[in-house]
Symmetry: C2
Subunit: 422 residues, 2 copies
């Protein structure tokens, strides 16, 4: 290892990785240590412009230990999940040479070099939007770039998996399958890209971040309890999911929105059914989640075909997938009719992400929302009660691309001089 | 047929029948017409003093058609469910003689005689407390008495079943099993008494009637949709339930409260899981139901043994079963801490049924409730938020006896002179 001055140099890599939302759910591990699932899962990668993690990894002979800062706050790296990722990437590290900076690191040097990691989510970490998926995918991707790891994406996904199961699916854009694999060592439990984001880029996604004061069961302990106590989980994993996986792969291939939506909704509901079948039961959805489902189901039913799909992860937030912008605009009209922004909330802080959809929905102002007519399908069926305050905000987004290296050093989260978060 | 004056006589019978709460749930029919279930179910009969239907059936040659009044309001008897019960009982009718009144009805006369039926529930019909179970059991029982039907209770249960499935279990007191049977004609799909109410009469039951504005899916259409669309229902019915039935029968036999409670909670949760696995999903429990479950689960967990069991039917109301009055008093303290009566509600209209339990709970006044300390297990775990108004009232009751004939004519709901509801 050589550098301008033995102690002063810092080498960095910065990457941005998307989050993803499963349409066939991952719930249950067959191996807790290696994070090997009981069934395949399939996800849609979300646009990193709206939901992603950015991570800078830096190495320097002056660093005395591995350290990490998440959203500006130092966190411990002692957990097995971080250690797994660091160990597996270090194992595959190669010679690195930065001619401009005059830095040369040899393969074996990596074992004696420490890293500083700074990561930042462009969306609230606590909102239950799979921040760990984006985070671990980004960590692994950035470390791999820094350490000149040449392994294929499939292998990187298998390393990210050991940080957080669903992180393996964030290694690709578009539509991604996490194949559960068969090998006891987990080497074939990897993510595979089913289709790029451009394959079906009409899809439009609306996320409702539901206000919740309830403390939720973490997905790690929740799925452990489900595996141990649910009488239905094994049947779901072995019998129901395999056929759904085949069918939704076909639906994605054929742009068959009706099938895609039908399976997506059914699988989200079945995942929550398994949670309810757990002892003690786990409730991730609340009354607001139920109201959103009812709103979508009534609309679907009145039209006779599926207008939008919904899916819920381990929390009350709804992720709704519309076949195109037009349907998304109609969806937003319905959502904003029932869940208008609370008083004194302006629209730009209530609708995040791709705000241009508001124009298509004819909703450029709070007054426009107040003037919304009730959805035609609501007639005589439900009291047209409104629920202002039950949703914190909406994020409008679309299907997105996989991890990317950010070459511009200005985007780095670590100061290239002192090696600490900017 | 003879009487004092051919047109003027009226003969009546009045009965009272309990409602019941399933601990192994009935959800799904294999035959919609005959009401044959996809699995056995097991229930506890509730004390008719607190939850029952009273029904008077009257016959007179002056009656021009079959008519029925429910809670004072005339309702149509044209539905297949009422017709099934009337037809099956008439088929089994025998000679009747009332010497005092000088009335003689011969077996074949019953086909030409019309009945008037008046029924009354001593609890709110709309509260989702299995009013139809008590009602159809009572109708069948009273008609059988009036028409001198000699068939055994098992056969009566099979007739009540054709009115409302769970009604067959209200033909007995104590612990009752509805055996699904095998015969296509339903003749062996009958209720069986597992144990009398005296077998385990320490049990104490607290029902929380949850305020709900949401319109609920009827259980008839709900279970039809589950049978048609849930990917898990068949597995539950064929694989999970049979072993649970065996185990809970053992638990009842042995007064093994821990097993009884564990299976009761798990089966309630699994029934609601199947509802959630239905397309479109059915939500019977709401946030208040979830809070009650969490309260009980936290308590059970902190004690290390099951203190009480909970079970929910097709609605948000919680039925909680405590092993004895002492545990029920501790349960009430917890429930009333989180769900105090709304302002200006007095305790006697908030706690119905066996109010003597309030004394054991040290809660004879609203002030006593306000002074309640938080349950010890709540410490540092959840915000001690209170939810006044989320529960309409509680009913305190116990395990009860089966249908009974009320010999006192003063208890009849029909005027013996004009044949109309009093």
């Amino acid at each position: 290892m050589t550098g301008e001055s033995e102690k002063s140099w810092i080498l960095m890599a910065t990457a941005r990785s998307p989050t993803n939302i499963a349409v066939i759910k991952y719930w249950g591990k067959r191996d807790e240590e290696l994070i090997l699932p009981v069934n395949d899962s399939i996800s849609v990668t979300l646009d990193p412009d709206h939901l992603s993690a950015t991570t800078t990894v830096a190495v320097s002979p002056s660093f005395e230990q591995d350290r990490m800062w998440l959203n500006g706050k130092e966190i411990s790296l002692s957990g097995g999940r971080y250690q797994n990722c660091l160990r597996e990437i270090r194992k595959r590290a190669r010679d690195v040479e930065d001619e401009k900076k005059g830095i040369r690191i040899q393969k074996d040097d990596w074992n004696n070099l420490h890293v500083h990691i700074a990561s930042y989510n462009n969306f609230p970490t606590a909102a239950g939007l799979a921040s760990s998926a984006a985070g671990f995918a980004c960590l692994v991707f950035a470390l791999a770039k820094l350490m000149n790891v040449k392994e294929e994406y499939g292998e990187l996904s298998s390393i990210a998996r050991q940080g957080s199961g669903s992180a393996c699916r964030s290694i690709y854009g578009g539509f991604v399958k996490w194949a559960m694999g068969n090998n006891p060592d987990g080497s074939d439990s990897i993510a595979i890209q089913l289709a790029e984001e451009t394959h079906w880029n009409d899809l439009f996604i609306v996320i409702a971040v539901v206000s919740s004061k309830q403390k939720e069961t973490s997905s790690t302990s929740g799925m452990r309890e489900s595996v141990q106590t649910s009488a239905l989980l094994k049947y779901r994993a072995e019998t129901v999911v395999p056929s759904r996986v085949l069918k939704i792969e076909e639906a994605i291939r054929d742009h068959d929105f009706a099938s895609f939506a039908r399976i997506t909704c059914a699988d989200s509901n079945q995942f929550h059914a398994i949670c309810l079948d757990t002892t003690p039961p786990i409730f991730y959805m609340n009354d607001t989640s139920h109201r959103i489902i009812s709103l979508v189901e009534r609309w679907n039913q009145s039209e006779g075909t599926l207008q939008v799909a919904y899916t819920f992860d381990a929390g009350p937030n709804a992720v709704m997938i519309a076949p195109n912008r037009q349907a998304a605009a109609l969806l937003l009209q319905r959502l904003l009719f029932y869940f208008p922004p609370p008083q004194d909330t302006d629209l730009t802080s209530y609708i995040l992400g791709d705000k241009s959809i508001l124009q298509e929905a004819g909703l450029q102002s709070v007054e426009g929302i107040e003037a919304l007519a009730p959805p035609p399908e609501s007639k005589d069926k439900v009291p047209r009660k409104k629920f202002a305050g039950d949703i914190s905000y909406f994020i409008c987004t679309r299907i997105g691309s996989g991890p990317k290296l950010l070459a511009d050093e200005n985007q780095a989260l670590i100061d290239p001089v002192n090696g600490l978060p900017k």
